[in-house]
């Protein structure tokens, strides 16, 4: 069930100049969160921010009643969320959206860029539980933007590409050598910029590999009420906040 709940700021872990993990805790129990679910976070105390901000759930600790987000500073709201004092009340609506499907695959490739790696800890936990072999491929412009490789390393093999070659292979994610053996994978999950996901989906399509992508969109409500967040699918416009954010790339009306 969707819930509106007050949390408090527990701690920050800054990963680089613009990316941080924000952990919130609550006195009440945490609702079960599935990999790919997101929350609508109310940004406290800024005149500039009017609406809530959609952010994927990075991790949830049910015992300690805490929930963690991986946030990249994109503008006013994500900046402010990185500057709160410990104990500040943060109201969130969660869990929202659908989730990645984890089924009979054996060997999956997880491709992420930027804040797109956010949903993959929960996903990888789930994959691990089901004994599905997981390979991560993360791309960024430069070394500094590649974060949390150690954490993901515990859940699978991690490959990296950077556009400037400062870490891992040089180039775009889709140029990585892992794609040479793409047919060894039977499922691809991807989250990141639209162009990246489209390129990944294209390769998946060409190789007939099932591919799920997690989309972003401008959202006002996050609960399917405003119809602001649509994306075009093969069966018409669908809401990213309720029918998504996870879509099978085949469903999307992407010109790829």
């Amino acid at each position: 069930m969707k819930k509106i709940q007050d949390f408090r700021v527990k701690e920050y872990r800054w990963l680089n100049e613009t990316g941080y993990l924000l952990t919130l805790y609550s006195d009440l129990k945490i609702e079960p969160v599935l990999p790919g679910n997101f929350a609508e976070i109310q940004v406290p105390g800024t005149p500039e921010v009017f609406l809530r901000r959609p952010i994927s759930v990075f991790d949830a600790d049910y015992e300690n009643r805490s929930i963690t987000f991986y946030i990249k500073v994109a503008g006013k709201g994500t900046k402010k969320l990185g500057e709160l004092n410990q104990g500040t009340i943060v109201n969130i609506i969660y869990p929202l959206g659908n989730s990645f499907t984890v089924n009979g695959s054996k060997n999956v490739l997880v491709v992420g860029g930027g804040s797109g790696i956010a949903p993959f800890v929960l996903l990888a936990d789930e994959l691990k539980k089901k004994n599905i072999k997981t390979t991560f491929l993360f791309g960024a412009r430069t070394k500094k933007e590649i974060v949390l490789t150690r954490e993901f390393g515990r859940l699978g093999k991690v490959w990296v590409t950077t556009e400037d070659g400062s870490l891992g292979e040089q180039g775009l994610v889709t140029q990585h050598t892992v794609f040479k053996d793409i047919l060894t994978f039977d499922k691809i999950y991807s989250c990141g910029s639209d162009p990246m996901m489209k390129a990944v989906a294209k390769i998946a399509g060409e190789n007939r590999i099932d591919c799920e992508v997690s989309l972003e969109n401008m959202m006002a409500c996050g609960i399917g009420a405003c119809l602001c967040c649509v994306t075009e699918t093969t069966s018409g416009n669908k809401c990213v906040c309720t029918d998504g954010p996870v879509f099978n790339s085949k469903e999307l009306a992407w010109q790829i």
Partner: protein, 304 residues
């Protein structure tokens, strides 16, 4: 405890707090957050004769104390509403009020005719104020003759309570209100969104796919409040106040200005429980000010 019921022609609302069309889906979206039976009414998402895909993405932009939308009346058509959606929500103990749209008068009339047959639906809201469609919508609402024409045509086929929703994008809203009153409207609701625009200075492009969209939220409240006050003094039919209502104080201001009931719109996105909080706040205000019936507030603005 104060009597919170209000009457709009034959429509009786258990309290003056309703939710605005397009901001509350079909109610169900909010069932996890509030008891929908507490609401005075739910104005459901705009309906058209045929299914509509709405406008392209992006459809939303945030602005200072407000937002723009360019949804463009995406909906599955009146037929689907009556056969599939309404049955799911009809047993709620609140008034379900469809928001009726069309590109032509004939389309409007057909939708209204169909709704006239639906048992349990006691009122419709005629939307002649949507700024986000190429044909129909606001085009009907900005000119007095066309506002009259569409109201008149619907009045002929619709027997129950007919509410006409007005656009604020006009020089004199009282003129349109008086026109639709004469044409047979039982009430007017105002305001719909203001035609507005957002630009991304980095990409140098409009933010919305449609370039312009409709502005809602607290930014527009002072203008909406003025219009409600003007219209209240211009017509005899009840006025439903809409525009940037975020809390009970805002709602009470609209009632003092002349509203019989109010609609909560954009605020639902920020706090899905806000509508119920507003009901509670109005109750508390009545108690504090020894008001026995909430309808005493309507138009109770005093002179300075």
């Amino acid at each position: 405890m104060a009597d919170l019921t209000v009457k709009i022609k034959d429509l009786v609302l258990k309290n003056p707090v309703t939710t605005a069309s397009g901001t509350f889906g079909f109610g169900e979206e909010f069932a996890d957050f509030i008891d929908l039976n507490l609401l005075g009414g739910i104005f459901v998402k705009g309906l058209t004769l045929k299914p509509r895909e709405g406008n392209d993405y992006p459809r939303m932009a945030e602005t200072a104390s407000g937002m723009l939308n360019a949804v463009g009346l995406q909906n599955k058509g009146i037929g689907y509403f009556i056969s599939d959606i309404y049955p799911r929500i009809k047993d709620l103990d609140t008034e379900i009020i469809p928001n009726v749209n069309g590109s032509t008068i004939e389309e409007y009339v057909e939708v209204a005719e169909k709704l006239n047959e639906v048992e349990g639906i006691n009122a419709i809201e005629l939307n002649i104020s949507c700024p986000n469609v190429k044909e129909g919508g606001m085009a009907f609402g900005v000119s007095c003759p066309s506002a009259i024409a569409v109201t008149d045509a619907i009045r002929k086929v619709y027997d129950k309570t007919l509410i006409v929703k007005l656009t604020p994008n006009v020089t004199d809203i009282t003129e349109i209100a008086k026109g639709v009153e004469v044409a047979g409207a039982d009430a007017v609701s105002l305001v719909n969104t203001f035609l507005a625009m957002a630009i991304d200075s980095k990409t140098r492009k409009p933010v919305l796919s449609t370039v312009t969209g409709g502005l809602s939220g607290p930014a527009i409240k002072p203008i909406a409040l003025r219009m409600v006050w003007q219209v209240y003094h211009a017509v005899k039919i009840p006025v439903i106040g809409i525009g940037g209502i975020m809390n009970a104080t805002d709602a009470i201001e609209f009632m003092l200005a002349g509203a019989t009931a109010i609609q909560v719109g954009t605020a639902n996105f920020i706090d899905p429980q806000v509508s119920v909080k507003i009901i509670e706040g109005i109750e508390a205000y009545c108690k504090e000010h020894n008001i026995s019936s909430v309808s005493e507030l309507t138009g109770a603005l005093e002179n300075r």
